[in-house]
Amino acid sequence: MIDATLRGVRSTNAAPVHRIGDIGDEGTWLLAGPSADQGPEALSSHLTRLGSLRPFECAGEYRTMLRQSGLRGRGGGGFPLAAKLDTAMLAPGEPMVVINASESEPASRKDWTLSAYRPHLVLDGGAVIAAVVGSSEVVIHLHRGAGAPVASLQRAIAERRSAGLPDPRWRLSLGPDGYVSGEASAIVSLLGGGEARPSFSAVPMAHRGPSGRPTVVSNAETTAHVGLLVRTGPHAWGAAGSPSSPGPQLVTLAGGAIDPGRVVEIAGEATIGEVLSATGHRQPPTAVLVGGYAGTWISGWAAWNTTFQREGLEAHGAGPGCGLLGVLPEGHCGLAETARLVGYLAGETAGQCGPCVQGLPLLADGCRALAAGTLRRRGLRRLLSLADVVEGGGACRHPDGAVRLIRSALDGFADDVAGHLRGEACSGAQRPPVFPLPEVDPSDRVWR
């Protein structure tokens, strides 16, 4: 079914054409195929639609295609996948390949959408990566919490087995829930018999992971792109993006969006305004939160004409991250939302690195005081210098994400900051939260 209102083409001919589509829409890349109400796509439908792959015979060719594609990781880091694979291939030992489908970002649904509805595209990508780096097994990692797309992936693996596809061994791994437990080094620690907490290493994981073997961790969306671009060719695929963000991309709408949790695919260069218009928004919101809960705020007016690609977002100090596009509606207080988000991030520390353990709760306190109108100029200066101390002090980027969010809030909501510092009443701060946070009981926290 095609929703005609989802198709937006810029009015001037000079502007690049883009396409915004939902799952099942014709003309989409990753989301093409059966609609969501038909559940996971069966292997027969997948192969009829896209044709089969020959990962072992074509490994060299596929490697070249991945290099030419410029595909960057879609889990948040944005690291070029081909560079990871090259590093793993040069390092001693059989590489370990992990598809990260855990999607720890609370409001993101794109990896879930792919694993639940297009499992074979994800598995195809895993088979290609394994063949390229010479690995006989691929681990698919999920959080074990409710709603994990385990059944769809299990069924897909069984289908492939009985069809005799030239696949690596598949292993489903279920790990603890929690924001940092889905971080690449945390997953690999868990797989090596340790705890799902980030680990510190001076050498890239692709060279030598916590298990001692070269380790490639690839996000589920990234992996699905691999399965697709080796069929379409890297150039056609890349042209569905921009020079610095080649290929189409998935976006999850969140917060005060009209339909939070909706996943859309952008092919071509679309502005945030075009994405929001295509999903029912008529005018710029107060602000958007880009890249994740530890992402960057951009004012609604500035964001409206900014493309959701690296070059557009970088101008605002942001990046596509995991593809989250959160909406802060009119009348809500960005400082109050920031305080709640920083409080959540503080509670999600793995409890290992001092600056994160000590610093994030203090940053959260400062943000709460600012939101409540009880922070003064001196307190704000202390908050900023604390942010400087925390930044870069952890083994992973968790504390840095919190700092980025805070700095972008102080910058993007500068007028509100001034009012709050004067202790003026803020009606927006009394409103119910826009960005839902998972309920976490610290005593339930497990790391295995």
Binding site: F200, A202, R208, C353, G354, P355, G393
Partner: protein, 82 residues
């Protein structure tokens, strides 16, 4: 020989001994956690101080490695003679 000193923040508990032993390259933050500001000690004396800092850390958070990422220890002496 080039060596590099690093602090694993997941192990650091703020004992601050590294900042006494290898004062030219480690600073303490407001809680006493060490942060490497000069990770490549130069000269025998400086390298030796870095190795002492690594040996003295009660949590094994301070690591000195050679250019091939091999760990060097003060007592055991590394493959290149320490």
């Amino acid at each position: 020989m080039t060596v590099e000193i690093r602090i694993d923040p997941t192990r650091c508990r703020g004992h601050a001994i590294c900042a006494l032993m290898y004062s030219e390259g480690v600073e303490l933050d407001r809680w006493g956690y060490g942060r490497v500001v000069d990770g490549t000690p130069e000269g025998r004396r400086s390298i030796k101080r870095a190795l002492r800092a690594a040996a003295a850390c009660p949590n094994g958070a301070v690591v000195v490695e050679d250019s091939a990422d091999r760990r060097i220890r003060l007592a055991g002496r590394g493959p290149d003679g320490g």
